[in-house]
Symmetry: D5
Subunit: 126 residues, 10 copies
Amino acid sequence: MPDPSLLESFPTPTDSPFVIEHVAEEFSSVCPVTGHPDFGSITIRFEPRPNGAGGTCVELKSLKLYLQSFRNEGIYYEAVTNRIRDDLDALMNPNWLLVRSDWRGRGGIRSTIRATSGTVPDIWQG
Amino acid sequence: MPDPSLLESFPTPTDSPFVIEHVAEEFSSVCPVTGHPDFGSITIRFEPRPNGAGGTCVELKSLKLYLQSFRNEGIYYEAVTNRIRDDLDALMNPNWLLVRSDWRGRGGIRSTIRATSGTVPDIWQG
Amino acid sequence: MPDPSLLESFPTPTDSPFVIEHVAEEFSSVCPVTGHPDFGSITIRFEPRPNGAGGTCVELKSLKLYLQSFRNEGIYYEAVTNRIRDDLDALMNPNWLLVRSDWRGRGGIRSTIRATSGTVPDIWQG
Amino acid sequence: MPDPSLLESFPTPTDSPFVIEHVAEEFSSVCPVTGHPDFGSITIRFEPRPNGAGGTCVELKSLKLYLQSFRNEGIYYEAVTNRIRDDLDALMNPNWLLVRSDWRGRGGIRSTIRATSGTVPDIWQG
Amino acid sequence: MPDPSLLESFPTPTDSPFVIEHVAEEFSSVCPVTGHPDFGSITIRFEPRPNGAGGTCVELKSLKLYLQSFRNEGIYYEAVTNRIRDDLDALMNPNWLLVRSDWRGRGGIRSTIRATSGTVPDIWQG
Amino acid sequence: MPDPSLLESFPTPTDSPFVIEHVAEEFSSVCPVTGHPDFGSITIRFEPRPNGAGGTCVELKSLKLYLQSFRNEGIYYEAVTNRIRDDLDALMNPNWLLVRSDWRGRGGIRSTIRATSGTVPDIWQG
Amino acid sequence: MPDPSLLESFPTPTDSPFVIEHVAEEFSSVCPVTGHPDFGSITIRFEPRPNGAGGTCVELKSLKLYLQSFRNEGIYYEAVTNRIRDDLDALMNPNWLLVRSDWRGRGGIRSTIRATSGTVPDIWQG
Amino acid sequence: MPDPSLLESFPTPTDSPFVIEHVAEEFSSVCPVTGHPDFGSITIRFEPRPNGAGGTCVELKSLKLYLQSFRNEGIYYEAVTNRIRDDLDALMNPNWLLVRSDWRGRGGIRSTIRATSGTVPDIWQG
Amino acid sequence: MPDPSLLESFPTPTDSPFVIEHVAEEFSSVCPVTGHPDFGSITIRFEPRPNGAGGTCVELKSLKLYLQSFRNEGIYYEAVTNRIRDDLDALMNPNWLLVRSDWRGRGGIRSTIRATSGTVPDIWQG
Amino acid sequence: MPDPSLLESFPTPTDSPFVIEHVAEEFSSVCPVTGHPDFGSITIRFEPRPNGAGGTCVELKSLKLYLQSFRNEGIYYEAVTNRIRDDLDALMNPNWLLVRSDWRGRGGIRSTIRATSGTVPDIWQG
């Protein structure tokens, strides 16, 4: 089940502004109603706090293992998205954070959920 | 015929801001003039009211059944779009809502209709 | 329900060889098990008999009305494809005929069915 | 020749805000200099006046016939675009209107012309 | 109306084998039933007779003018395709010739017609 | 773990020749070495034996459940592909059968495996 | 060499606002260092001054000949872009003007240069 | 003007069979009638004679310079293609050779010319 | 290892505003943890200081050699991006600068990093 | 430098026929003339000998390390392709083998090289 203890971080390498985006195209969890697997991709976009403010960035391999921990969890689209937002927010406390999940669809309807923390600039909301 | 009683909702799972988008690519209704079937896709995008404000989100399977209820209805493009906007607005009373219908075209002209309620931020109007 | 009496034909306009292909991208019928609508496209490819042999070609508008007659029929993918093959074969008795149905998918699986009559050359089997 | 008397309209079906877009991909007129046919697509995007303000929307079939009336007219790209803008503005008097013509090109140069009336919001200018 | 006298040719420049393909993407004629314009593209593919056998190739500008001569002709898809095949065959008497017309569609059905003369090798039939 | 008892079939609906293709784009199993999930798509293409010869076709929903039974199995690409081929061959004994697995890749290398039974015609080997 | 005397213009046909874009995809000049040809496309986007203010628009065929006059000129990317901006600005004195050059690349690096005059609205800067 | 003396070759590095394809996407010559530049791409595909038979392969940089030597030559599509075929055939005397030119088009018609020497296997004729 | 001494610049050719973008699609460095090569593309976008203010622009060939100097360096995604931003900022001191790195992905996650200096206008942040 | 001792294999898991294809999209070596890095993708396609004939298949991770061993080798396109063919042929002695290298291009020319061993069926030569 989703295990935030898998997440690790490293200090932001600079005080200059930058934006990081990770796209995990091979995400899978399980529909809590039907028990069928859901497939989608998870986009994580954030501006870390600067090094001088004690900022950190999520480490890539730990992110991969964390996302794999949802594999056999029965969980709704909205809950996946909010859960990842909460866990990454707790880990990094970034200037702002957006988590977007794009689901391949069920019954002819495909869905996209976006959850945020902090004030995400308009140009990064997409 | 279009049956809003098919729509169900569930409480918004969080007070944090998020945006939901559902795309139903297999929508069909009937042209009221010619009787020929129309084909298109329906995009529904909204920001639910937060949990603490009694917000709700439309349930996905009920949305599918509701959209299928237009299948043999003779109804214009504009009326389909406004009708779905009205029915979802009544169901969820969201912070804002956009309904976009994209029609495959008739006589060499393809059309897109967008109807909204509340104040849709510019970045979500597309 | 499927109504082959809607189909009309016209005499092949020449004795020179030619191949005709019609693609109807807006086909819809109903799943006989779940009652949900199925969406797909129907490709019809054939070499008509020459004019001098009494050959005929299916008329385009009548083909459209015939395909619409499946709209509320509960019928399997395979049966749709074989039915159209049989009805067009009876109408035109062409040198050869291929009917291919491409379905948008259900439960994450999309399907393609090809039914033929006569000897379809390899280059036209795709 | 271009015949605005072919255009018909119907009352805007609602007072709620909405935006309509029609794309006619099969437009053709004639170059007034060379006499060769020009090919392009015409995009018409507008926000109708609300029903309560006597607003109207262009009817789709009449729009098709109106656009066909340019077929044998010798007319420049810019004049086509401005003419359609003027005729639709006179018909509907909408809140705002954008007409965009995209031409397939002549001599290795392809062109796009946009003409507007009223104050078109930035997000609809594309 | 279709005017084969517009077609001109030039002697095949070599005795070595080669294959020529011209694609005219901006073809338009008129539906003889509805009077509405039809839009499509015409592909012409052939192997000219060698220079030593008196072979000729169609001249490109004359081909353009010839295809434009169909612009206001009421004519069926099949007849357009066979007519072009016949006129080019009479002009060049090539080793083989394929004429393919791809139509943008009417009523949700798009069509492709292929007419040939001589023995077109399988690899050139597509 | 892979469970062929989930597979069900129905009698081939006709004696006329036809070819069936199912593409399951949301397949996932587990790498037996690293324990990380693998993601890919499975294409199943076959010509069923005719009805008169006791032919059967795999039922779509049972196929979906069968493919899901690989979800937590540690198994190599090649073994997945051969296993599905063997299980479907045992179920249907078709005229010919091709199973193709397309894997999203690991370490910058993406793989495709094709396993067959019977004599698959060249045009269906792709 | 680049010859602005080839450029011709015609009076803006209206006082209503509009935006013109020409894309010449077949531009070629010569690298002044290596002598190898450079290939790219030139996009010209502008809002002409209105007719009542004596505004003019560049004529399309003259633009084509002007762009061809760079063909054998040894000239840097930046200079091409600024030169075209200056010459068109002198010709039309438009409300605003953007010239963008997109180069196919050399040594694995492809470049885009944008030069402007006047105040180009944000939505037209892309 | 086209200068085959620019072409250089190197010995085929092996006796095992292999096929080489070079695609030069930035080819330009001049139309002998209008004087306007033509743009296209040149594909060269061949099987060199084996090393043991004294086979050679065209050197890549020399090929680039040779193709650039057509830049200001007034020459027809067919002649460009046959000329390159002849010059490369004389240089390498390969087992077989195909030269294909794809032209961006003039007056709405785009052309492809294929010239060959030796017996080009069907799978390499495309 | 990364060698900024390879970078050269030339004076900005004008005082008029313009924006330069270079995209190097063939960038490669080495993962400092696994020792495996990383592959990606580097986008560099900036507005140079005007000529009159002593502005300079990076020279294209020197940029290529500088980027190649990362080839065998063990370095993280974030460090690559910040390093290039710092080196180019020191070289040119531009009005603003954006460096974006797009990585092909490792373990199913692909990443994009954007680092900036100065005030990058919103329209150039993408 | 290229090190075939890195390659490992495992026994073919079955006696039934199958075809394996691996595509390594992130290949890089060095041009022996200029010293600049070359980038491309390597496709490896083969039919292993059956298990009963002592057949083996290349192991995926060892293949990755082997391909990485070319990273700093100065070597021509043709030599890369033939070398990989020879090394894999020596490792597996398969029924047939095709190695294709697709290079991103230098000086506007991109190349594809195909080397084979055994008799590769036509449908697998692409």
